[in-house]
């Protein structure tokens, strides 16, 4: 499937909630951000502008207020905003997103073994581009269960608050780690 939007260029993905966070990440040389939490207004403002300038913008659809989890919202995010990909725990949202040729990242909430089992049973189809485990620090404990159902690349996101956390999550098997902390972004800034 041809995807024309930019993809990832570094293993650290800055998680932002607004234009100020976006600007900080861009100033550090990042060409990619994840809108983890935020509002529709943040989306249509500076983030849309960044996407037009070739920045890879990923958005966690479960964390954006003001957007409905439906096809109209996805058409808007994909076509009007030109975002690179979407994250959601909801398989039907990802199925819709793949129709709009967006990269789809299945969020898995790793909170306890019962919830993990439910999340892994209801994986999106077609297969997502990646699995995002939240919170990332559980990856060591859950990577075995994930690998039994999919070989997709793993992202770690949520409560990554120190550079050591990033290293721990990478060591546990993640290819991409997302953090909301500018001090972490500085440590891993692209050269």
């Amino acid at each position: 499937m041809a995807v024309r939007t930019p993809g990832l260029s570094a293993e650290l993905l800055p998680a932002v909630r607004d234009g100020a966070g976006l600007q900080q990440a861009l100033d550090l040389g990042y060409r990619q951000v994840l809108l983890e939490r935020g509002s529709l207004l943040a989306l249509v403002g500076q983030l849309a502008g960044a996407a037009r300038r070739g920045i890879a913008v990923f958005v966690n659809l479960d964390g954006v207020e003001g957007l409905a989890p439906d096809s109209a919202a996805l058409a808007f995010v994909a076509t009007d905003l030109g975002f690179s990909g979407v994250l959601s725990v909801k398989p039907h949202v990802l199925r819709d997103a793949s129709r709009f040729r967006m990269r789809t990242i299945q969020r898995i909430h790793a909170l306890d073994s019962t919830g993990l089992e439910t999340g892994l049973k209801s994986m999106a189809s077609p297969a997502p581009l990646a699995i995002a485990v939240a919170p990332a620090l559980t990856l060591r404990q859950v990577v075995g269960a994930i690998r039994q159902v999919t070989s997709a690349p793993i992202w770690g996101t949520g409560f990554v608050t120190t550079p050591d956390h990033v290293r721990e999550v990478l060591a546990a098997g993640a290819e991409v780690v997302s953090s909301s902390r500018p001090e972490v972004w500085k440590e891993f800034r692209p050269s």
Binding site: R37, G63, A110, L111, D112, S113, V142, G158, S180
Partner: protein, 205 residues
Amino acid sequence: MALRQSPTPVRPLSVDRSVARLCEAFDRVPVAAVIRRAEDLPRALASQVPAVFFVRAPAFHLGPLVWAVQARGKMAFVHIDLIAGLGKDRAGVSFLAREIGVNGIITSHGSLVAAAKSDRVITVQRLLLHDDLGLPSALAALERARPDIIEVLPGVIFPAVVSELRARVTAPLLVGGFITQAAEMRGALEAGARAVTTSTLSLWP
């Protein structure tokens, strides 16, 4: 002439007593057994845990399981969000409280905590820590709902949030989620958990 008393908040008093009793029991045995499969229940009944948490049980066959727990002098809690067949609303809570007679309900939703206030059940609200940017709104939701007990998940994140949590809420804190080893259990207790919740049988004393 006997004075007519002002309407007493019957529920809060008796629920407060139940919570105090549970906390005393947790001081001796700081573990609640999470039942994911019916086969695990006999082990929980034979253990010293003071409370049993049912997750993912069928609503209309729950009675005998709950009563078996209570017959052992333990408290039975039911996770209403995950129970098949039951509405996630006030009537669903009332069914669990009055028809089955559960000691408490577990939910992630503040609205269900509020709905349970008119029934004589302990409310356990889950604080789901998947995303640090969502923490402020999750804490605000806890403050609004004022549950009797808070269950924080997953265990590995608890130490990072415990001081902020303590500054905002006074309810006893349970910690669960991927607690599969004795060291993880000790870590949660040392960080300030009143008890841990775990489905790992070897951690049930």
